[in-house]
């Protein structure tokens, strides 16, 4: 039997369409029996609060899911890859996500379940 690997019409590693913010809003609305407008407010409120926390130098810690933190990166001498010129890269704060223990285990455990092919495409 021939299996068409490209029938999803995309190039996602696992052939699965991603969930977008608007789908998350729809799922929240359906599960909590809220209007879509209210569900959208909920979703925006949560992401805004997480952004605000990171901005204020706080972390976000969701048990079992993961934590977000702003990590400080030092300034360094970089190079413009096109011209080869040396440039000073200023210090910066970058968001960093550490996956929680429970989610980490669940994601890895689902590797063996039939629906997802393990293509071992990365190291």
């Amino acid at each position: 039997m021939i299996q068409c690997r490209f029938d999803q019409g995309d190039n996602y590693a696992h052939g699965m369409a991603p969930m977008t913010k608007s789908e998350l809003i729809e799922f929240i609305a359906a599960r909590a029996e809220l209007s879509k407008a209210r569900a959208e407010m909920v979703v925006n409120c949560v992401f805004d609060a997480m952004t605000e926390a990171l901005r204020n130098g706080e972390g976000v810690e969701i048990r079992g899911f993961g934590s977000l933190k702003a990590r400080a990166h030092k300034s360094y001498q970089g190079r413009n890859p096109r011209t080869g010129k040396s440039v000073n890269v200023p210090p910066k704060l970058r968001p960093f996500f550490k996956v929680g223990k429970e989610l980490k285990e669940l994601v890895n455990a689902s590797r063996s379940s039939g629906s997802i092919k393990d293509n071992g495409d990365e190291t």
Partner: protein, 106 residues
Amino acid sequence: MELSFESMETPALTKAQLAELLFEQIGLNKRESKDMIDAFFDLIADSLVEGEDVRISGFGNFQIRTKAPRPGRNPRTGEAIPIEARRVATFHASHKLKDQIQGDTN
């Protein structure tokens, strides 16, 4: 509000605080707010466990990556131990989030 963070180096936003926010700003009751926050992270987690990435515009992408097996070492003893193939969840912040954290300096 008196909260102790003695075990952490930085204070952190938690599910309890997010639920409080929904109670104050959206006008859900406390029970609904708490359930809503649980559902919120469960939905994202479920999607990842199903192998679907989660893309939140203006915030970032949660992605699933498949890692090939590779030889590893116990850093303490130097002993070689194989690292099995595994699936991991990663997060890539959007430019908007990066800029906001940076404080819009550029």
